[in-house]
Symmetry: C2
Subunit: 336 residues, 2 copies
Amino acid sequence: MNFAGPALAEGPETARIRAFLNGAGAAGGTDPAVTVTLPVGDDAAAFRPPDGAQVVVSCDASVEGVHFRREWMTWETIGYRAAASALSDLAAMAAAPVGLVVAAALPPELDVEIAAALGRGVGEIAGRVGAEVLGGDLVASPGPAFLDVTVLGCAAAPTTRSGARPGDELWVTGELGAAAAALCDLERGLEPDLRARRAFDRPRPRIDEMRWLRDRVRIHAAIDLSDGIMRDARQLAVASEVALEVEADRLPAAPALEGFRRAPAGERLLLAGGEDYELLLAVPAGAMRDAERAFAATFDLPLTRIGSAREGEGLTVSGRSNPALPAGFDHFEVER
Amino acid sequence: MNFAGPALAEGPETARIRAFLNGAGAAGGTDPAVTVTLPVGDDAAAFRPPDGAQVVVSCDASVEGVHFRREWMTWETIGYRAAASALSDLAAMAAAPVGLVVAAALPPELDVEIAAALGRGVGEIAGRVGAEVLGGDLVASPGPAFLDVTVLGCAAAPTTRSGARPGDELWVTGELGAAAAALCDLERGLEPDLRARRAFDRPRPRIDEMRWLRDRVRIHAAIDLSDGIMRDARQLAVASEVALEVEADRLPAAPALEGFRRAPAGERLLLAGGEDYELLLAVPAGAMRDAERAFAATFDLPLTRIGSAREGEGLTVSGRSNPALPAGFDHFEVER
């Protein structure tokens, strides 16, 4: 069972699907080499990738009460964030997004308006990165709302987590900690600083930034920062079989962290706060020299060297070894 | 956040992911033209489709208490059925499966054993059709368990729902109603007939059958029977802008329906019972003539002409028009 567009027979479920699809609109198609040959509306959708291209696929699931709360954000924002989080994985691979497949389980009381709002949120970010909704499934759930967004993209040569080498420099796009600052305030019942709120509600997957960099700089490895730089850098270290050193003082703290910065909580938000969706990159020493300023000028976004890779294993932050530092988020511990 | 294979840092969530992936195994690769270039374990997975091929994508979501119940089946069966249902959409498109992306929200009390059992069920059917698990996300849920399986395949020319023409014959693979018979018994607290139980627990997406037919017969349109032939035939009629006539006496009723056949309930199971995952095909008149027997001999499966298409719209069953007949399943009505 799937989304089936204009030709679908009527019913309460199909009304929600129709509302979702109308909300999402028909964006897509920034990459002229990719053709969506069969849009949403059949048993499956289809697209034709450029000859020789690889198809890149990832997904991201979120559950009401665990990953989002209705009190904290609109349904547009819930849809946007779910899609942005999945698209961020494509950014890390330097893939051009093609489409999204969206499954949602919604409590029966959630009406057509809410399906439409979810669709608008998904469509907002999909349109921005040139992807379209290729399919999905909308079902009733007696429990909390659930969203799963699978993203598909194309890349001639996807960038992985596993290519960092001893001697590489570590770079990070953008600023860190703003989304975590917003979450911290929301959890305490406070209204976040506007900049933090914006970072939390409308994270920007670094699709264009990564593809720009990939065209100019040899990138050995990349990972997106969804679970906090501590945890994600550790993943990159393990996957690449190198030791990583992060210089905490170099980390580009978001201005929204100012109110938190001095306290231990501030350091925790900066190091372990997730959902920034910036990219951590490992590049050969000196490789960013020519690109650094042009990047900042092109995207109005900082690009910061924050550490390096060496022989060994594990993660060190400014000379302290990792066990003492806060861990990232693990869903079965719900520890933050 | 995604499945990240061997290199993933430890934690309760990753233990479940590891158990799931171990359960699923590393099947895949029956189509030598498709290479999985980057398996599960990075921000995303990647594969290289054959030059010129289209990538076909679909998904299927299921919720505990709505689509399945723990009391009725093992977690292997829950995993198998979720994957089989999604793969059936690829069968309808005549696509060769490449991979699956599996998102699951599981109550925190569901342990590593259950993640492994889900993985085994998904892996059983994935292996059978030559697909592998390319990614996923395993998250904790305070509510009912939720599963979403997205499937990816390749096809030179996917078959759609929309190509049926007046004069076409309607054919169906296999037998109908056994899964619905099992469900009917389960809902009444009875243990189903073994044949019905088997059809319900281990439906076979008609991947090989459809690709065999596609190579021999001009197929104008196809749809898989997930929601019952009444509802799915109506979808095909609407998508193709034709009227369909189904001769109820020709429908290949499963032997497991014998106990129900005479009653109105039996007719309802045959016409509106879902989850058979057989295929409904529209082909030019006479086109099946040479293939019919060879198909039955090759797959030990009936292939039955059950009706025809003509100018007009809507669905007629043996001279009765559709409003009087039972509707299929609509999740927001939960009417069966």
